[in-house]
Each structure stands twice: as C-alpha cells, then as structure tokens.
Subunit: 372 residues, 2 copies
C-alpha cells in the first residue's frame, strides 16, 4: 500500500490517517459502546475520550470484564528519554493519571534510557539516564500517587528487568523484529534486543506477586509495534496479553507529524518560559486563518488545520468553551492572532503551575523511583 | 575450505586441526620464544605450557610488555553453566589458577547463565542460574585466592553488566554476528545480544577503576569468536584489546571432539564417585591398544589416539613419569588395561581431594560472589 505517512516507534512523519493505522495495526476503534461502558465505571469521560484523542485500543472489554470480576489491573506506560519533556508527551500521561485516579490502580512507568542510547548516535548512556530523571519530574508533577507509582530507568532497574527480558528475548526471532520494526542486518544487536526490555513491565507485577494481574498500557499509537510483539510472546510465558489504549499525537507547531523533542522549534517544552511560549506560538504555530483580516472576517478560518485550535482541542477541557472558539474561528469572528493568544494564555497558566510542581517533585523523586 | 571439524562457542565436533584453527581464527602460535619469556617471569612453565596444551594466543607479548612496565593485568575467564562441571572444564581453570599465583593478579570469572538459557531449549533460567553456583564450587575448590577472585552470574550481576553491555551492543551489527557466529534470522534476539555481555568483563575493571587495565583471557579456543568481536569493539570504546591464551580440548572419553556436559558417558564429572570413574574409564575410554595381549606385547599401543594416555598428558604433571608411560605403552610393555588403571587412580585421587575442597567451598562461596 502506498503510504504518505510513517508511524513506527522511532519515526512519525507525514499526515497520519488514524483509521488506516487501526486497520494496519489490527487494533480496534474506541467506539461509543466502550466509551459508555467506561463512563459507567468512572462516572465521567475524560476530554481525551470524549474527543477521541484516545481513539483505538486492544482488549479493553476483556480488561473491564476482569475488573468487574474483581481482578484489578495495573497501568504501564513510559517514555524514551531523548530530550526534555514537551507538552505532546504529557497527553498519554495526563490520561494515565486520570485512569489511576478513577480506578485507584498502580502505575509502572518505564524510562527507556537504554533504547535512546542504542537508537541515537549522538546520545551517551549518561545523557539518556540523566534525561530520564529530568523527565520523571514532569511525570510526578502531574500528580501521580506516591506509593502507587513506580518510575524506573531500564539501566538502574536492570537487575530485575534483564533476567525477565531474557524470557521474552528467547521467544523473538531476528525475522520477527525485521517484520515488525523494519530492522535489517545493519541494525545493532542492542536495537533488536531492546523490545524484550519494553515487554517486561507488561508482566513484571505478575512475576513479583506470583499471580497473573491484567495490565493496561495507555500509550501513543507509535509504540504499538512493541506491544504487538509482547502480546504474541507473553501468553507463551503464561501471562495475560496486555490491554492497550492508544492516543493520537499532538501535532507539531509547524504542520504535520508528531512533535519532536529534537526539533526545538516544533515543540513547547514543559520548562519553557512564558515569553518562549508566546514567541514560539506566534512565530511557528501553523495557522488555518486567511491571508488578510478582511478575507478572514468574510470567509472564516479553518480550525481543522489550525494548530493553535488543534492544541486547544487537547488542552481546553471545557467543551462549550472549545465549541465557541471553534465556531467563532470558523465564522471569521475570531482572528488567528486572537486564537493564538487564547492558546498562549492557556499554556502559560498550565506550564507556570506545572513548573512549580515540577520543582517540588525533586524533593519526592526518590519516593517514586524503583532501583535494584 | 572443506571442513571435517567444527569449533564455535556452541558446537565443537570432529577431529580438530589446531594449526588450521590458528590460521582461520587469526591467532598466533605459542612459540618457544614466548614460552621462554613467560618462564623468565614465572620461574617455571606449567605442564600445559610445556606440552602445548595451551597452544595459541593473542597479544601475549604486548601484555608482558605492559606487565614489565609495571602495568599489571587481570585475568578473565568463565563458564557456560549448562550442566555439572566435568574435568575438561578444569583445564583452563587450572591454568588460570597458576597464572593468578605466578603473577599475583585479580580474576573475574563470568558464569553465563543467560547464554545457556538463551541457547538451550531445555534449560530454564532458574536451572542455569543454579548450575552456575554449583559450578562455582568447582572453581573455588581449585584454590583461587579469596579477595582476588570475583565470580558472578550474568543475571545476578546484571545491573553492572547490562549497562556496560549496551556500550558494546551499539557497536555490533546483526551482519557481524551472522558472519562471526553463523547466526541467521531464525536465531533469537537474545542470542545476538549475548556476545555483548561476554565482552563486558574484558573492560569492566577499567570502568570500575577509571583507568585502562590490561586483560588476559585464558580460555578454550572455541570461545575465540566472542573475543574477536570484543577485540574489534573495545578500542572504539577507549579500552585495550584483551589479550588471550587458548587451550585445546580434553578429548571425550569416546573418540573425537570435546567432552560434553550433556552427553553423560563422554565425561567424568567432578562429582563422580571412585566407582563411577573406574566404570566409565574401563567401559568408555577409547583405547589405542591392540586387539589381543599377544599382539599388544608384540606391536605396542598407540598413545596418540589412546584417550587414557591423552588424559594423562593433561593431568600427570611429572614429565618423566609421563614419558615412561608413553614409551612403555608404545613398546607394548604397558597394556591398555594397565594404562587405564593408572588414569583411574590418578583421577580418583585428584577428584577425592577436589570433592572435599568442593564441599568446603560452600562455606566461603559468598566471599567469592559478586552481585549487584
């Protein structure tokens, strides 16, 4: 099939057709029946669910069946620490936090410092490991529960992880990694082994407790390849297949693809100042507005391609406010510059508070970290 | 080139031409000049050197240059714990112990429980790990110095090993492992990664001390493939290439190849009783004797193909005693049964003492073991 986009764990590019991804990856739509079922258990739906920002899943119905039988699940998500945290990274984490609150469950959060070292020519292991602990501050700042949230880097928890990864690795051939990840003989052997490390948190609590515990992985859809492999292997080791729930990417400030921590101008970082936020949004955010104010007033803007509007659809939780922005922009009543200001203020308020919590997180970091 | 033998880290079969191995692997003969140089430093030559049981090396002259400059080396060897220790395994260890005594150096001893799990369908990680600690008793029983000898299993020391293995893995492509080890796309990804773990002890002390320390690896020649890779990668990471000194295999009791821990009748285990030793040697040891006593008296035996004689050439340290056995056997004065009795007694005496030391080793095992 001809492709105008790429979605792998290491590359996200082009104009992504999320429906096609569901078909190609073999996942399921997060349909209204399932949303209804979740709402019955949680009392309300997170905006990311109402707006289908989380749009796809694997085995959510099985997971909720187990939950209703009293077989509680735990959450597993993670981060590849290749740079500072940007607000796109926060999307699955914010949702994971909501799930933790609503279901009162444990979270295992994996920082793949090994992966980023293996896949990035320009990063040392010392750098990826130190980035991991910086990124962990952003995780903690979101309010995850102390004592119920275990964050670990792969290298500092490797005594536990490595021996469990071996169980997985023995069941994965070179052929499989070539087919699933598009590897070839020029890849390094660490890259091929790595998916075994990413599989471990999907069954580790079952090993530690000595009984099978269902696992739910909220994650951006680009990581699905890893969990396709994990879902194939884990039953062979006597564990459940992990369930998963997948989100879209927050678009880059410029047009298309996924925000990248390594392309500085395409992203707003969690540590950006109010001025930087303003400057980046004003300078780089792709606009769906018209060439002149007159034209805009007459013909209206296009919120579907307008990045500031797209971002508000992630971060403005109030549906009626968002609808008014949408309609006013489309009608021409709201100008592009004005729309940008709404986003700028939203981000400035959110990140100011986030940065305060992020600094406080340094004091409790140790309480969240799992090490061998 | 047509081959009538195979020597890889996972398979040793056929009638091995050690000279051809030197050529194919690109190692060097352990020649008289080098033996002379070693003798100058050690005062005497171990029988394994005098008899060219250690027959090949890499960079021994460089290692001794460094030693003479005051840049002391350390020793690194290991064991793949796939079964009980047999007396063939003791060959490189006995020599390593001699080197430790003569040069007063540290030894790092790696137990590759991960490797044996990954490469053996029928072994669990629990089994290989527990075999590793059983095998460690045999190592300690040989008299290695407490405080100067660090034995570790890869899984129980993996916090240290894994992150260092990543440095190596990033520099090894799939192609390289295919070329060096003969892997193909049906191999599992753990098998490809594993050589990175075996490389680590060749530079780990340099990491731990923060300065480059020369490393000498005494080992059976079948492991050379791993160290060819390590010698290629380590300089790229800023470390010395490890030097190596290689031994032949103690032949199996039946004819040809290497003794195998998984073919029970081909081996004498360190835990075999006096009766078992006697029974196995009498029943299975391939003889170079004649069909009848009369013929033997008249024509003499062939020590070159006689396994009991070959074994004595490893374990009878007294050159004149060995020569007498050789000559008497060749002349027909010594019968095959008598030769077998000499070997049986030698093994019974050695293993009785070994078993006593092996049991005492349980009490000090912890003092030798490195864990994270």
């Amino acid at each position: 099939m001809a492709k105008d986009f790429v979605v792998t764990p290491w590359k996200v590019e082009g104009d992504i057709d999320y429906n096609r991804l569901i078909k190609e990856f073999g996942t399921e739509h997060l349909d209204d029946a399932l949303l209804h079922r979740i709402k019955k258990l949680t009392g309300e739906l997170h905006p990311f669910l109402r707006r289908k920002i989380f749009f796809s899943h694997r085995d959510m119905n099985w997971l909720l069946d187990e939950y209703e039988k009293g077989n509680k699940f735990y959450l597993y998500t993670g981060r590849g620490p290749s740079g500072n945290t940007h607000i796109g990274h926060l999307v699955p984490w914010l949702f994971t936090k909501w799930l933790q609150d609503k279901f009162d469950v444990l979270l295992y959060f994996q920082m793949t410092d090994d992966e980023k070292f293996l896949f990035k020519d320009n990063l040392s292991l010392t750098q990826t490991n130190s980035l991991a602990y910086e990124n962990a501050l952003d995780v903690i700042a979101l309010g995850f529960k102390q004592g119920k949230t275990h964050i670990f880097t792969n290298t500092d928890y490797s005594k536990t992880l490595y021996k469990n990864a071996l169980l997985v690795a023995k069941k994965i051939t070179v052929s499989t990694t070539k087919a699933v990840f598009g590897f070839n003989d020029s890849n390094n052997v660490g890259e091929l082994f790595f998916t075994s490390m990413q599989a471990v948190p999907a069954f580790l609590p079952s090993v530690l407790k000595g009984k099978n515990i269902p696992c739910l992985i909220p994650h951006a859809i680009d990581q699905d390849a890893h969990f396709r492999v994990a879902r194939d292997v884990l039953p062979k080791l006597g564990f459940y297949k992990p369930a998963a729930i997948h989100c879209r990417f927050l678009p880059a400030l410029g047009i298309g693809g996924k925000m990248s921590a390594s392309e500085k101008d395409s992203a707003i970082y969690t540590t950006d100042s109010a001025d930087e936020i303003e400057k980046k949004v004003k300078k780089y955010a792709f606009s769906g507005g018209r060439a002149t104010i007159e034209e805009h007033r007459k013909l209206g803007g296009n919120p579907d391609i307008d990045v500031p509007y797209q971002w508000l659809s992630f971060f403005e939780e109030d549906d009626s406010k968002l609808k008014k922005i949408h309609d006013d922009y489309k009608s021409g009543k709201l100008l592009s510059g004005e729309l940008k200001l709404i986003l700028i203020e939203k981000l400035q308020v959110f990140l100011k508070e986030h940065q305060r919590k992020r600094e406080s997180a340094r004091k409790v970091l140790d309480k969240f970290i799992l090490k061998d």
